[in-house]
């Protein structure tokens, strides 16, 4: 029942969400229903005029999850994400919030998983690490 409550100051037709309850750690699904990562954080943009911050993107992957968890475990997760990332200056996978079509038990997107950074990182790990494990090509058998 995400997005049904109201808080003071919102109009009757406004949808209201709770960032932690409705977004964080939810599975993302692409437009074909394929799982394409989790929501690990939300990026906010603070307007210069001091008005309410806008939610501009979903952040996904260990480099978003690590800082959120914090502590030794968070640093370890973030460092692992940087080590395994295919780019020289790695950043968390960023999905524009306008790509979201529905928020419920999962966050549904209008993009394809193959077009997303989460997919490219996953493919890199598959090719460079998992694929080199003896017998990995028979994993589905």
């Amino acid at each position: 029942m995400a997005g049904k409550r109201r808080s003071p100051g919102t109009r009757s037709d406004d949808f209201v969400y709770e960032a932690v309850l409705d977004f964080l750690d939810h599975q993302m699904l692409d437009r074909d229903g394929t799982p394409c990562g989790n929501v690990d954080d939300l990026e906010l943009e603070l307007p210069a005029d001091g008005s309410n911050p806008r939610v501009v993107a979903i952040l996904s992957g260990p480099m978003a999850l690590g800082p959120r968890i914090g502590g030794t475990l968070g640093r370890w997760i973030g460092a692992l994400g940087k080590t395994l990332h295919p780019h020289e200056f790695p950043e968390p996978a960023r999905i524009e919030i306008r790509s979201v079509t529905k928020v419920g038990s999962a966050v549904e997107l209008d993009t394809l998983a193959s077009e997303m950074d989460t997919y490219r990182s996953e493919q890199w790990v598959l090719e460079h690490l998992i694929g080199r494990i003896p017998g990995a090509d028979h994993a589905s058998e």
Binding site: M1, G3, K4, R5, R6, S7, P8, G9, T10, R11, D13, D14, F15, V16, Y17, E18, A19, V20, L21, F23, L24, D41, L42, E43, L44, E45, L46, N52, P53, R54, V55, L59, A64, P67, R68, I97, R98, V100, T101, V103
Partner: protein
């Protein structure tokens, strides 16, 4: 800024009195009828409470029903969460300072009564 940078931050009122910690970030959509309904999401305010476990487990008065013993234990604590509208926030660097006193803030339960 990220949502996670707001969570668990200490909130202090205009008198320097500690209100609690940020437990939830309320976001609203002012363009719910547009073609891209989530493009206009903005932060509406913060839920601030001294204890966060009832909020994190999703127990409140309207959205989740059972089990009854757990709900009876946690729902009153959820009701003590205070809603801080973003317009009442003075600074977000380090400790979050609000422009008004703690007594001027509404509880979540009061806020829901207002919204009904």
């Amino acid at each position: 800024m990220r949502v996670s940078e707001l969570l668990d931050r200490v909130v202090v009122d205009s008198h320097g009195q500690k209100v609690g910690k940020v437990r939830e970030v309320i976001i609203t959509n002012g363009h719910s009828r547009s073609v891209k309904p989530f493009a206009g999401l903005r932060v509406d305010g913060l839920l601030v409470a001294r204890h966060g476990y009832a909020l994190h487990w999703g127990f409140d008065n309207t959205r989740h029903i059972g089990p009854l013993p757990l709900r009876a234990l946690l729902a009153p604590r959820r009701g003590r969460a205070l809603f801080v509208p973003w317009r009442d926030i003075a600074t977000v660097e380090g400790t979050i300072t609000i422009k008004i006193g703690r007594s001027d803030l509404k509880t979540l339960r009061d806020s829901e009564d207002v919204a009904r």
